[in-house]
């Protein structure tokens, strides 16, 4: 932590220079005012750079058969020459692209239905469309295995029993299944990104096109969609990078059937006999790609900020749907929420309440044994639940605290390095969890942190603090600095201003960010799967570890996780915290 204390010392020195004669003690107030935010930024940069450098260095090291270490590109050449790598890369691109396209189409459609039409039950759908955002992709994949595994899926059995239909084409294993489950979970991202421009767009922009001769369809294609493009493209970018890097879904639906993807290949490189060089080279390639894409997206957005909000009293008009239109809109909504939320939850409940799972619910096997066992009697799952709650609560609190300091620096400091820092601090969002986990694994080997819960905590915070920064910064922008300046002018110290003015104003964003991190940490799998050890398992790890050994336990544990996630969602609604992305 030498860098951190150096920065502190520098900040302190600056504070004393600006105010008092040399030799005078640094002003306490200036010291914290300048030093704390810088400390937060320094911590963030360490959390980004640490695993990045570790992965980079490890990828260049090669252990020769005689035990000596050389610096070489051999790990990369070996990887690039490997047909399995190319296969995995192709599959990962397919999954990412497929999930992006499907979730963009779905997300825009759902956002449009909710914001621009008079479909009945709009306010319900508005909330319902967000629920998948709060659920676990791994559990979703698990639930879809119960629903649509070839031959044994609930849907197959139902179709057979009630309709006499065989559905041989319905098979959740494979790339199509991965894309489907990913799309369900990433649709709300797109939805969140485009709903606010759709809502706030000046209706005159579209009305002018209509009056000047454009049909409804032409207006949508030439005015509405182009105006949504910046929001849609940044959503597509984030969905592509994060869905392609997600470990959970391909692990559940593709790896078991011999279909390789990059996240699952990295994971298997680290199974016995572990090849860290290969995994690190994998990681470096993906890092370069995601960092490039993330930076390009920032650049693209910076050059293309359309002002679509103008004038007073202009609101997008709500379209009156015809009967046919209503039926179509309702069907889309019901299908999305039905297939994304209701069916998977029903499947999990069915399986968790059966002593033996036979592919359909039999009242003879009904039991709550699974829950009592998982909650009270089984050490693995009990530890996992406690660990997950600890990580989520402590991790979210640290992450939000850090993000407040960082947002303060990014919004209130006059430093020239601000833009650069902002770019660096936004990087981890795009980095796949498994690669960040790999970085921290390499960093922590041979340190006391290795295989403790603390390294998992650090990895969680490092991966997701940028999300908290975004939420907090969005709020920060709306707070006029004069509000703080008047507090200072009234005689309040920096601390008092923070406590009585800034933090209360930021509170809605802090709650939103905390709940978001809580949800993400409760379900995290990608980095945990590399960092856990006996005794530090989380719920998601326990779900993987239990695997197919006992359907009932897995489903019961998944339902418990679901309850945690849905309670966070309920709190979101109760506190009216806003998720909307800009």
């Amino acid at each position: 932590m030498s860098t951190g204390s150096d920065t502190l010392a520098k900040a302190g020195a600056q504070g004393s220079q600006s105010q008092a004669a040399p030799g005078a003690p640094p002003s306490h107030s200036r010291f914290w005012e300048k030093g704390l935010p810088v400390l937060g930024v320094a911590a963030g940069i360490l959390l980004v750079l640490g695993p990045f450098l570790a992965t980079l260095i490890r990828s260049l090291l090669y252990w020769q058969p005689d035990g000596s270490v050389v610096v070489t590109l051999q790990n990369f050449t070996a990887l690039l020459g490997d047909a399995r790598f190319l296969d995995a890369a192709r599959n990962t691109l397919l999954c990412g692209a497929g999930a992006t396209i499907v979730s963009c189409v779905l997300g825009v459609t759902l956002a449009w239905i909710v914001s621009r039409t008079d479909v009945p039950g709009r306010s319900w759908f508005e909330v319902g469309n967000l629920i998948p955002f709060f659920l676990s992709p791994y559990v979703g994949a698990e639930a879809w295995r119960y629903l649509a595994a070839p031959g044994s899926g609930i849907i197959h059995k139902m179709a057979q029993d009630y309709l006499g239909l065989k559905l041989p084409f319905l098979n959740i294993y494979g790339l199509a299944g991965v894309i489907w489950v990913l799309a369900i979970f990433y649709t709300p991202y797109v939805y969140l990104f485009v709903i606010s421009p759709l809502r706030r767009m000046d209706s005159a922009l579209e009305d002018a096109a209509r009056v000047h001769g454009a049909s409804f369809g032409y207006t949508v294609r030439h005015i509405t969609l182009p105006l949504l493009m910046p929001a849609l493209l940044s959503a597509a970018m984030i969905v592509f990078v994060t869905s392609a890097g997600l470990f959970d879904v391909p692990f559940a639906l593709a790896a078991t059937h011999g279909i390789r993807t990059i996240p699952t290949e990295i994971y298997s490189s680290l199974q016995y006999p572990a090849d860290f060089g290969r995994a690190a080279a994998f990681g470096m390639l993906v890092l370069c790609l995601t960092v490039t894409l993330t930076l390009w997206q920032r650049h693209y957005l910076a050059s293309r900020r359309f002002e679509t909000v103008s004038g007073k009293g202009y609101r997008p008009r709500v379209m009156k749907l015809s009967l046919g239109g209503r039926i179509v809109a309702l069907t889309v909504e019901v299908l999305y929420i039905g297939l994304g939320v209701v069916l998977p939850i029903i499947a999990l409940l069915m399986v968790s309440l059966q002593s033996i799972w036979t592919g359909k619910f039999r009242s003879g096997y009904a039991t709550i044994e699974n829950f009592t066992y998982v909650l009270l009697n089984y050490d693995l799952t009990r530890t996992a639940i406690v660990n997950s709650l600890f990580l989520a609560v402590v991790g979210a609190s640290i992450g939000v605290g850090l993000s407040v300091l960082q947002s303060y620096y990014l919004n209130r400091s006059t430093s020239k390095a601000r833009g650069f820092m902002e770019a660096v601090l936004s990087l981890p969002i795009g980095i796949p969890g498994i690669i960040l986990g790999l970085g921290f694994l390499i960093l922590s080997v041979r340190t006391p942190l290795y295989s403790t819960i603390w390294v998992i905590l650090i990895a969680y915070v490092a991966h997701f603090f940028p999300l908290a920064i975004r939420t907090v910064t969005a709020m920060f922008v709306a707070i006029n600095p004069e509000l703080e300046q008047s507090a200072r002018a009234s005689g309040a110290s920096w601390w008092q201003t923070m406590r009585h003015v800034l933090l209360p104003l930021l509170k809605p964003a802090l709650i939103a960010a905390w709940l978001m991190l809580f949800v993400i940490f409760v379900r995290e799998l990608g980095s945990t799967i590399l960092l856990y050890a006996q005794g530090t398992e989380t719920i998601s790890v326990a779900l993987v570890a239990l695997g197919d050994r006992n359907f009932g336990f897995v489903a019961a544990l998944a339902v418990i996780q679901l309850v945690l996630l849905l309670s966070a969602f309920a709190l979101f609604r109760l506190t009216r915290a806003s998720l909307v992305q800009d």
């Binding site: 009305d207 002018a208 096109a209 001769g213 005015i223 493009m229 103008s310 004038g311 202009y314």
Partner: protein, 378 residues
């Protein structure tokens, strides 16, 4: 032959309600070809809804709209043309210049959707941009323009396809005062040159008076007053218009009426009445409408601020003058605004500085021909 055929725009019995709120209550109006109509009124009077119904952006519940001999809306025959089929131009308050297009793409849009050839499009767009003084901005992104320039782009876009009718929705309200003045002049000249028919919706009286041949003042979905700008301005016929135009409006009781002008006022009114205000002051004024007033009835007396003449008390030699006290004076550059206490009645006056201050005893001179008397129920 129906008499409607002589009108370019005809609206009959237009009704629109939002829930329990009646926004347009059976509005009928007409505009001659090449003329300009201003729909004037406070916010919420239904003027924007009226315009949106004309454009087809809103569907009226009932009524009939005909533009240039073509029925675009008829609730009885279930005719409701889409906005794009009505062949109009529109300029919005927010300009609605598309930020993802260049200036030329914005202006050329109506031609592009009409599938005009590229060469013709370019020719027309260039001509139009020259007309609005943006010739040099052809290829620039629309986002680089200032407010006034965006306004011109919006105007060029509304005119480029030579529409039969151009609608202006608070088109000048977003501009600053100086620019607004300039654009108003330019619009007037442009309309003389291109001869389009126009309907302006505005809450700004000077915009309406400056641009329109005819003015309709809307109040809560009704037509309150209709007439030529001068007529409406000089002789407000209803208390609503008097208040909307910013006149002093005071309620009192009619003491007597007369045919002959009092105090030697010019003989140009239907009749005269003396109205007693609550403080006891009795003022002669001319009738604002043709209906006679009865002595003993309630009436309103309306006086334009500029017509309340304040002078030092010694010079009290007017035809109809009263002693009063200045309550407040506010310097406004060329003029000064006063709040005057006339025997317990508050009047506002605007005039070149009279050199009086708050608390001064003054004389208030009210010429009878400038005091308009309206029946209370009007």
């Amino acid at each position: 032959m129906k008499s409607d055929l002589s009108h370019f725009v005809t609206v009959r019995g237009l009704k629109k309600t939002f829930g329990s709120n009646t926004v347009l209550n059976s509005i009928s109006l007409s505009v001659e070809e090449g003329h300009t109509l201003a729909l004037l009124g406070p916010s919420g009077c239904g003027k924007t809804t009226m315009l949106r119904c004309l454009a087809g952006l809103e569907t009226a519940d009932e009524g009939y709209i005909e533009i240039a001999g073509k029925v675009v809306f008829d609730s009885a025959k279930k005719i409701n043309l889409m906005p794009e089929a009505r062949q109009l131009g529109i300029v919005f308050q927010s300009y609605a210049v598309w930020p993802h297009m260049t200036v030329a793409e914005n202006v050329g849009f109506p031609l592009k959707v009409r599938r005009m050839s590229r060469a013709d499009q370019e020719k027309r767009v260039r001509v139009m941009l020259d007309v609005v003084g943006l010739g040099a901005w052809y290829d620039r992104p629309a986002t680089q323009l200032s407010g006034g320039q965006q306004q011109r782009v919006a105007l060029a876009r509304a005119l480029v396809h030579e529409p039969r009718l151009v609608l202006f929705d608070e088109a000048l309200s977003n501009l600053d005062a100086q620019l607004r003045e300039q654009m108003r002049m330019e619009l007037s000249m442009l309309q003389d040159r291109l001869g389009f028919t126009a309907i302006y919706v505005t809450h700004d009286q000077s915009e309406a008076f400056g641009l329109a041949d005819r003015i309709i003042i809307l109040n809560k979905g009704h037509i309150d007053t209709e007439g030529a700008p001068r007529e409406v301005f000089d002789r407000p016929q209803t208390p609503f218009v008097a208040q909307f135009l910013g006149l002093n409006v005071q309620e009192g009781e009619v003491l007597e009426t007369a045919q002959a002008a009092p105090h030697g006022a010019p003989q140009d009114a239907a009749g005269w009445a003396r109205v007693a205000l609550p403080g006891g002051t009795a003022i002669w004024g001319k009738l604002g409408h043709d209906r006679p007033l009865k002595a003993g009835g309630k009436a309103l007396i309306c006086i334009r601020k500029e017509h309340v003449k304040v002078s030092a008390r010694e010079a009290m030699a007017g035809r109809q003058a009263f002693p009063a006290v200045v309550r407040a004076a506010s310097f406004q550059g060329l003029s000064e605004e006063y709040i005057i206490d006339l025997a317990g009645i508050e009047l506002r006056a605007i005039q070149p500085s009279a050199g009086v201050r708050s608390g001064d005893a003054v004389a208030v001179d009210l010429a009878p021909e400038q005091c308009i008397v309206l029946a209370r129920d009007a």
